[in-house]
């Protein structure tokens, strides 16, 4: 498997069917670790970085943590490939744009990936579609145990796993869920939901994590605290909160269906109309319109499109995916035309 192979198929977290993915689109668990025998990223020499990459690649192979996978060296791939990986949530912006030896080991099915030399030496993550914290955490825990049998982690009896930023110290665990909350947005209840979330020591971010704006009513909710709570407590806490928010969203959707069906349908079919007829679509606009269409499909208002197709459209209409398909760099205005063409065709026009 290579990057080119995976670029034309749905991402791991887009599998529809196993768990309900209407509101909770995907769940993720990430563990941050540093090797004890090397300085942290800010003080690593070029040689240190090279050695850490080599060491981790060897250990990952040896322990068969990722039984079938491929390694992507950030220094050897072009900007489009790096953006592609970001769009597939395989790497962070930090890994894509940093300097020096760094890369990511990706399992063929993209469910597990291990970043090397991002902010910390090792950042392993597991992704599952739908509401599946236990699945994601179990996978990443297995990875951690296997690596710790072969490597000496930087660990402190008081402060736990030691990370470059104190905000990740302790468990080094970031558990997060991607939620689709269009109904709560329409009924103006989102502010209240977010106030509650931050009071509970959870953080809310847009579609692409740190520093991004919420597009298409997709929100990433994650734990804020990593020290002083066990991994189990963190997972249980965020699970409970996400379940509550999902319930609220479903309730809001029901309200819109029963009290305001015409206005709701209008919004949804206008979005469908634009998607099936436009000649120019920016990625921002496409995200917003597809979000409405997704709601329409979930509520059975739109009957001729399935969720899997929506997921495909959301991913493949992203800038790097479009350019990968065409196998070349394309300027933004041309991409916008290509995007509309791709979506029109995919929706049967």
């Amino acid at each position: 498997m290579t990057l080119d192979d995976i670029s034309s198929r749905p991402a791991a977290w887009q599998k529809v069917g196993e768990h309900n993915t209407e509101v909770v689109v995907s769940t993720r668990a990430r563990l941050a670790r540093n090797l004890a025998a090397y300085p942290f990223k800010p003080r690593m020499s070029a040689q240190d970085r090279e050695q850490v990459v080599g060491l981790l690649k060897d250990v990952l192979h040896e322990t068969k943590v990722i039984t079938e996978g491929f390694y992507v060296d950030m220094l050897e791939v072009d900007a489009i490939s790096r953006k592609l990986m970001m769009e597939r949530h395989l790497i962070s912006h930090e890994l894509a744009e940093a300097v020096g030896q760094r890369g990511v080991m990706v399992q063929d099915d993209e469910q597990v990936s291990v970043m090397i030399n991002e902010e910390d030496h090792v950042r392993m993550q597991a992704v599952a579609s739908g509401f599946a914290f236990d699945t994601a955490f179990d996978l990443v825990e297995q990875c951690d145990t296997a690596l710790s049998n072969k490597l000496d982690y930087a660990f402190h009896p008081k402060y736990g796993y030691l990370t470059t930023c104190t905000s990740n110290a302790g468990t080094g665990l970031r558990a997060s869920a991607m939620l689709h909350l269009p109904a709560l947005a329409i009924t103006n209840e989102l502010e209240q939901v977010f106030k509650t979330i931050s009071r509970l020591n959870l953080a809310v971010r847009g579609f692409y994590g740190e520093g991004s704006a919420p597009l298409g009513h997709y929100y990433q909710i994650s734990n804020h605290v990593t020290l002083g709570k066990s991994e189990r407590e963190i997972i249980d806490n965020i699970s409970a909160v996400v379940a509550e928010i999902a319930k609220s969203e479903k309730r809001a959707r029901h309200t819109l269906l029963t009290k305001d069906l015409t206005r709701l349908s209008d919004r949804i079919f206008r979005a469908k109309g634009l998607l099936t007829s436009s000649r120019i679509l920016t990625s921002e606009e496409a995200t917003v319109l597809l979000s409405m269409l997704r709601l329409g499909v979930n509520l059975d208002i739109v009957k001729d499109i399935d969720l899997a197709k929506i997921n495909e459209l959301v991913l493949f209409s992203q800038p790097a995916h479009l350019q990968k398909r065409e196998k070349c760099e394309i300027p933004a205005n041309e991409r916008d035309m290509l995007r509309s063409e791709y979506i029109r065709t995919a929706l049967g026009n």
Binding site: A36, A37, P42, E119, S148, D152, T171, S230
Partner: protein, 171 residues
């Protein structure tokens, strides 16, 4: 209006614009980011205003003597500016600053949860390895190649010890 870059570090956005007027009436303007301005302030001749500030407690902006980590070269000042640490040793070296951050962010100081197996002996050896690596990088930079070679050998021996220990653990 375009955002101006700090004239000191050239990286962050300049948010503070200081105008100095010389006795002859000449004006010079300096544009600095938060971090560089705070650094700049320390080296200025104290005026009646900074005395005022000190009295009101603004001088708590960590006017501490700088500390350097022997394992990685990270300084306390650099850590405060960047909020990023240099190695595991820094957690103990900068204990006060670290703990105040941990308390502020996590409302906790004691880790609860998973821990890797292996005792403090491994930790001490790793700390030693780290400081050897730091010395090796410095020796290479100074072109003290003989010293560097000796350090490299020592590192190699320690690493081999580590490996054979881990293999024994697996058995």
């Amino acid at each position: 209006m375009d955002s101006q870059k700090c004239q000191r570090c050239g990286k962050a956005e300049a948010k503070i614009h200081v105008t100095e007027i010389s006795p002859e009436g000449e004006k010079t303007q300096i544009h600095l980011c938060d971090a560089c301005y705070n650094n700049n302030k320390e080296s200025e001749v104290p005026s009646e205003f900074s005395l005022q500030e000190l009295l009101s407690g603004i001088g708590k902006k960590e006017d501490v003597p700088d500390v350097t980590c022997p394992s990685c070269g990270m300084t306390l000042k650099k850590f405060i500016n960047t909020e990023r640490l240099g190695c595991a040793n820094d957690y103990d070296l900068f204990k006060e600053n670290i703990e105040s951050r941990l308390e502020h962010f996590h409302d906790a100081l004691q880790h609860v949860g998973r821990a890797p197996k292996g005792g403090t002996q491994m930790a001490e050896r790793s700390a030693y390895l780290r400081s050897l690596r730091y010395q090796l990088n410095a020796a290479i930079a100074e072109e003290a190649f003989e010293h560097a070679a000796r350090l490299r050998d020592e590192i190699k021996v320690l690493e081999e010890d580590n490996n054979s220990e881990e293999d024994n653990n697996d058995a």
